[in-house]
Point group: C2
Chain length 331, copies 2
DNA sequence: CCGCAAAATGAAAGCGCTTACATTACTCGA
DNA sequence: TCGAGTAATGTAAGCGCTTTCATTTTGCGG
């Protein structure tokens, strides 16, 4: 469509009879130009219909406002609330945020990281594993790498998350304290899901000496998963009295199945979710779930980025934002 | 972290003893450099740990790979499946996609558009209304504007969507053909929701002469909405025999509420959703819903962008991707 | 009214690429 | 072996900004 070329800084400068340096200053720090000049520039911008070219700006200043978020899946996603909090927080901090979907695939993940690096992103927010080779590229760059939703032993740079092992452990304690005796664990076979499972199993077995039955989710998340897993549970010799799910939508799905087959929740079978998404408090019965502090994650990240911008040293490389078990009707 | 400065094209050129132009060509069109030279460059890239700087590249070539998607809300969202399809399609086409959340706010929307323009985005994909002023900026730029999920009378540039009025109309016919007589319409007060409602009402009233009761959703979507609206329905003098919802999650919520209060679905009250998301086929009863062809939308857009890149003229400015009512158990 | 510090502006050198154009290196038929 | 035509490479001028450093303007006390 661009019939002619877009107006540039110096077009504005010409129109306002100042140098382009002054116009540049007007945009980056309005107070540094005299009020009369500022007024002339404002006019000139309007006249010319100028839109700054941030590509040029970022190139010249060697800093970009691009933040790249990489997640395995978008719909359905465990992360969607975190993403929303991040997008909103970062946007209002003047960043432009890109979203990449890795589809649980390492190659995809790394390609997306390299793409972000190519755009000289200010930060890359990842949830997946990163190979040594790519870590090297990231470290070489001035891009801040932030791992979220976990507390890695060896963070690339910064990590903001919580302990999945601890969640598993707390869930085991919670379940035991409620008097359940035959838990069934629906394991998300991603790295974090495994940690929750292990935490649960260790705590449960040392605490009770009893066994735990288990189902495996499939990645990527698929429609029909809840039905499949409920069927699996039905085939068990002895029916579990509580099921620990991955995402809340899985918990919801299991409740729906259970009720459909005439079971009462939680009397016949209790269900516990993960993520504390909106659905958890809307379901009948309301769903007991593990709450993640999306807001805090987003705020922490925004702050870290701000501090980096100001050249401050980041002291806490690994921030634990914790979690909370929210007891509701379903367990 | 960047202790030193990143390697550049000419660093690679030096290492491979060629000119930087050749290295540039090696990246944009590998076949145009001699195989021996290509091999040397490949080595040099490895040695230096070079990552192209796309900011510089885009600036010089005056074309960017950035595509910006603007939606009102992310979680819960009507659009999430469309977004996922788009992100995946566009990523594999080499684009980098940014997501902006407008929060149903015109000012937000326009700020995000201006930001995308500032990055000289290849395309902006919008779902909201765009003011005349901003339209002018878009038209002035070489950015392709794509309106999705609707068929505007006066498109900014390109539109890929379907007719909400027609959906309303088809739903009315469907409901009537099933013998329902007292529909209740849950209206999403966004521009598209209003169209669906109007289509439904017109068709219903001319077809039956009967009235339709109505509830209004609140934007942004809020937890508790389904409970609130079900309560509203319960307070009606005469109970509707079918409820037409906004998003499927609202349909699901209403079914949960209905069953919780001892109503049978669809015998006592039928429910119809919109969007045909995964939940629709997983719920018990499965949810009758309106299917949107996300894949087709994504593919159409990818193709349009490709054609634009090749300098081809786009003939169809407004593409209707249609919709389908999927009859299931809930109505 | 002068002189000086501070404020405001300007000049110009890049940032790391792409690309038009010029040049050099091949290939191959006569 | 020569030369024309093609393939491969090099040269250099930008792309639109930021930023350092130099210069001009302004404000103000004496």
């Amino acid at each position: 469509m661009a019939s002619t070329t877009l107006p540039t800084l110096s077009d504005v400068a010409k129109a306002a009879s100042v140098s382009s340096a002054t116009v540049s200053r007007y945009f980056s720090n309005p107070d540094s130009v005299a009020t009369k000049t500022a007024e002339r520039i404002r006019q000139a911008v309007l006249e010319t219909g100028y839109t700054p070219n941030r590509l040029a700006g970022s190139l010249a200043s060697n800093k970009s406002q691009l933040v790249s978020i990489l997640i395995p899946q978008l719909a359905p996603s465990l992360f969607i609330e975190t993403i929303e909090a991040l997008v909103s927080k970062l946007s209002s901090a003047g960043c432009i945020v890109t979203v990449g979907v890795t589809e649980f695939d390492a190659a995809h993940n790394e390609a997306l990281i390299m793409a972000a690096l190519a755009y000289r992103a200010k930060a890359i927010i990842v949830t997946g594993e990163v190979s040594d080779e790519v870590r090297k590229f990231i470290r070489q760059s001035s891009t801040t790498a932030i791992e979220i939703w976990d507390l890695p032993e060896d963070p690339i740079d910064i990590a903001v998350g919580f302990s999945h092992w601890e969640i598993g452990r707390s869930l085991a304690q919670f379940v035991r304290s409620r008097g359940y005796t035959r838990p069934h664990f629906v394991t998300n076979p991603g790295p974090r899901g495994i940690k929750r499972r292990n935490g649960f199993l260790e705590e449960w077995q040392t605490g009770t000496g009893c066994d735990v039955t288990e189902s495996l989710m499939q990645l990527p998340f698929q429609p029909g998963a809840a039905r499949r897993i409920f069927a699996e549970i039905q085939r068990l010799e002895e029916r579990p009295d509580v099921v620990l799910c991955g995402p809340d939508w899985m918990a919801q799905g299991l409740i729906v199945e259970a009720m459909h087959f005439g079971l009462r929740v939680p009397e016949d079978i209790a269900v516990i979710g993960f993520g504390n998404s909106a659905v958890a408090s809307e379901m009948r019965p309301t769903i007991t779930s593990v709450d993640i502090d999306d807001q805090r994650i987003a705020e922490t990240i925004a702050e870290i980025l701000l501090n980096r911008d100001r050249g401050e040293e980041i002291r806490e490389k690994v921030v634990n934002t914790g979690f909370k078990i929210i007891a509701r009707e379903s367990a």
